[in-house]
Amino acid sequence: MRLYWEIFKRSFQSAAAYRLEMIAQTVSSLFGILIQTSIWLALYRGNAEHASTAGQISIRDMLTYAILSSCVFLLINNQMIWKLGEKIKTGEIAMDLIKPIHLARYLFSESGGLALFRVVFQLLPVLAFGAVIYGIVPPAAPDFVFFAVCLLNGIVLYYLMSFICGLIAFWYMVNWHTNSLFHLVMTLFSGSLVPLWFFPGALSKTVSLLPFPLVFYGPISVYLGKRTIEEEMVLVAMQFAWIALLALLLRWIWGKAVKKLVIQGG
C-alpha cells in the first residue's frame, strides 16, 4: 500500500515537468467550453427552458453541464492506451510482469497522481473560469453526495475501459487506432457533448444500457438534480455492475495477454 502511495506522489511531482502540455490542455478545455456554451446559448435563443426526456432543462442547466463535462474530461483523461501500447510494442511489458508489483494498480496510482495534479492546476482554474463567466447551478445536498459517488465510479469505469483498450495492443499493434476508436465511441455515447436526455427516445434508451454514459451523463445529470432518488440508486447500481463486469473482462483479457506473451515472446 505504501508503495502505491509513493508512486502516486512521484507521479504528481513529475507532472509538474510537463508544464507546457498542461497549459495546452487547459486552453483546449477552455475552447471546448467556449464552443459548447456558445452553441447552447444560440440554441436556446431567448427560451429559458426546453423539453427533454428528463423534464425541463434550463439554459443555466446546460451551461453548467458544459462546464462540468469539461472538468470531468480533465479529471479522467489519461495516456493509458498510449502508454500501455508503447510498453507492449517495446516489450517493456515483460519487465513489468517480472516486477513484484501489480501492473493495474501501479498504473492506477500513477494516473491518480496525475489526476490530482490536474485537479489542482487545470480543473480548478477551468471551473473557476466557467463559474465566473457563465455561472454554475449549485447542487442540492443529497444530489451532491450521489454525484460524488457516481463521479468516482465513473472514473474507475473509464480507467478500466482504457486499460482494456490498451491491452488490445497485444493483438493489434497500431494503438492510435484503438485510441481513436475509443474516443469516437465515448464522444458519441458518453453524453460529454450532447446529454442523453436530448437524444431521440429510442436511441436514448438503448445507449443508456451501455457503460459509456455512466462516465459523463450519469454523474452530471445527478448533480443537476434531474433524477429521483430511486433513479440515482439504479444508476449507481448500474455503475457497480459494469465495474464488476469490466473487471472480469479485464482479468480474462489479461490472462490471454500474458499467455500470448509467455508463449510467443510478445
Partner: protein, 268 residues
Amino acid sequence: MQGIRLYMRFIGVYLKSKIEYDHIFVFMDLVLNSVWPVVNMVLLWIMLQRFGNLAGWDFDHLLFLYNLGYLPFLISGMIIWNPTKDLQELVRTGHFDSYLTRPLNPLAHLIMRQFSHGHLFGLVLSIGMLVYSVNRLDLPVNAGSAVVFLSIVAGGALIYGAFMLFCGSLSFWFIKSESVYELVVYEIRSLIEFPLPIYNKVVQAVLLFFVPYAFINFIPAQGILFPDRSAWPPALQLTATPILGAVLFALAFAFFRIGIDRYQSTGN
C-alpha cells in the same frame, strides 16, 4: 510545372507502396481519420431534432458550412500539414540541413517528401456531404457556380496553409512553438465549424481580423445561403476568400524565407 508532375509521381508511388505493404493499417488510417466529421454531424443532427435550428441555420445549412470549412482543411492538410508540424523537430535536430543541400526550394522539398494519405477518404466523404447538402439546399449548379465554389475552396486551403506555414516557421526563432501551432491550427479552427454569430463579439473579431478563418467557410457560406444578412455586396462575399488566401500565403511564405535566412546565419 515540373515540380507538380514530380510530386504527382511521388504520390502515386507512395500510395502504391503503402497499399502493398501496409494495407490493413492504411485502411484503418483512412477510416478513422474520416469518421470524426460524421460523428460531429450525428451529434449536431440529434441536437437539431429538438431545437430546430442554430442561429437561423438548419441542419442542411450547417452541413454545408461544416464541410465548406473541412474540405479546404483536408486539402492543405494532405500537402502541408506534416512538414510544418515537423519543422520544429527538423530545426531542433539539425535535420533541416539536408533540405538546403538540394537544388530545390526548401518548402517544395518539404512538401515533396510526404503525403498524408490518411485524409484521402475524409476528402471523399467531405465532398460527398457537400454534394448532398448542395442538393438539399437547391443551390444553382453550373459552370459559373462551380468556378466560384472551387475558388472558395482553394482560397480556404491557402488560408489554412498560410497559418500552418506561419506557425511552423516560428520554430526558426522559438524552440517550443508546438503549442502555438496546435492552438492556431486545431483549437481556433474548431470554432468555425459553427456559424460565427453564436460567439461573442471578441471571438468574432478574432476570427475575422486576427486569424481570419471566418473567411474560409462562414463568409462565403453566408454569401451563398443568406446574402442579405451581410452589409457587403454579394460579389465581395464570394471573392474575398481566394484573394485573402493568396495574400496570406504569400506573406507566410515570405516569413518562412526570413526564417531560413535566420537559420543560415545562426545555425540552430
